[in-house]
């Protein structure tokens, strides 16, 4: 297990030390890209901007958490007659239209998977597949252990291996297991690595292509 980083006076974690993030932000790989495309599902913040300033890049910020939670609530309300897969893809594509016609090399998912109703996972996988490069890497977290406290967190980059937790508000989220997520990401994408953190969340990296899965 990986422990959390610094904590505030009331014992809330202030930062997260990530084992997998350095594999996503490997400078030798990022520097090879002439125009790095970065997709951030989280909220814009100065720390993440400052980090990517090192690279000639385009950073697309979606600030999608609240939008996706609202949408998931509407999906839940329609589950007596669940929307079709194509309808779900259409709705999600419209919500995330800021993604544009780009393919991204790095995707910060943060806690996005847990903002999605289970019925929305396939649509999310479909949208993600259409917007990533063949050698992309996506990084995020998901609730793993039962009873893990559920928060709407605002995370930002402090360094290649440390994230800051800027705000967190207690909200009910949607828990999924790794198998469900991988089924939604198939056939082109998969959770390639996972590291269980002390707070009950799984840090994961999503990649495209066939690679040997490894649970650290």
């Amino acid at each position: 297990m990986v422990s959390l980083g610094r904590k505030t006076e009331d014992n809330r974690p202030e930062s997260i030390i990530c084992r997998l993030l350095p594999t996503v932000l490997d400078p030798t790989k990022l520097e090879k890209k002439t125009a790095l495309q970065v997709l951030d599902f989280g909220r814009a913040n100065s720390a993440t901007l400052a980090f990517f300033n090192q690279y000639p890049c385009r950073l697309c910020v979606l600030d999608a958490a609240e939008t996706l939670l609202e949408w998931s609530e509407s999906v839940a309300a329609r589950m007596e007659e669940p929307p079709s897969a194509s309808q779900m893809r259409l709705e999600l594509s419209n919500l995330l239209s800021s993604i544009g016609d780009y393919r991204y090399d790095v995707v910060f998912l943060w806690d996005t998977l847990n903002h999605l109703h289970p019925h929305a996972l396939d649509a999310f996988g479909s949208v993600l597949r259409r917007h990533v490069t063949t050698d992309f890497k996506g990084h995020g977290f998901m609730l793993h252990k039962k009873g893990t406290p559920q928060f709407l967190r605002q995370l930002s980059l402090q360094s290649e291996s440390v994230l800051n937790i800027r705000e967190q508000e207690s909200v009910p989220l949607y828990a999924h297991n790794r198998k469900q997520v991988n089924e939604a990401l198939e056939p082109d994408l998969k959770i390639d690595h996972g590291v269980l953190h002390g707070d009950g969340r799984l840090e994961f990296v999503v990649t495209s292509g066939v690679q040997v899965s490894q649970l650290v």
């Binding site: 125009a35 790095l36 909220r43 814009a44 913040n45 100065s46 720390a47 901007l49 400052a50 990517f52 300033n53 690279y55 000639p56 890049c57 385009r58 950073l59 697309c60 910020v61 979606l62 600030d63 800021s98 544009g100």
Partner: protein, 125 residues
């Protein structure tokens, strides 16, 4: 200055600095000057200026040839292109920030230009 009770629809082209506290929809072009969208300013326009400072709301694409500053009270939805983008904590932004295109354009000039940089401002000021 466009005051808080003024609404402008159309294209604004100016060769002096401009403060917008009212509402503007259209385009704003101040090629060699600074645009400030004040705390009560509401702009739905594509903006082209040397320096763009946003304390209010902007929906549209922003091209800042020198820098773009999104202040703590600022809220921007659109695409930003500038060699220097500054985001104060608390400022909201949705869209893309292109830190490469300006660099590429400047790099084509014979004299070397400073690399694009983003400055962090950790406290609202």
């Amino acid at each position: 200055m466009i005051g808080a009770k003024v609404k402008v629809k159309g294209d604004i082209v100016a060769s002096e600095d401009l403060l917008v506290e009212g509402e503007v929809s259209g385009t704003i072009t101040l090629s060699d000057n600074e645009l400030v969208v004040g705390t009560s300013g509401r702009v739905e326009a594509n903006i082209n200026a040397k320096i763009v400072r946003i304390e209010g709301q902007v929906t549209g694409d922003i091209d800042g040839s020198e820098r773009v500053i999104i202040c703590a009270s600022g809220n921007v939805e659109g695409n930003v292109s500038s060699p220097r983008v500054m985001l104060e904590d608390g400022g909201r932004f949705k869209g893309s920030i292109d830190m490469g295109s300006t660099k590429a354009a400047v790099a084509a000039k014979p004299t070397p230009a400073p690399a694009p940089e983003v400055h962090s401002i950790d406290k609202a000021g």
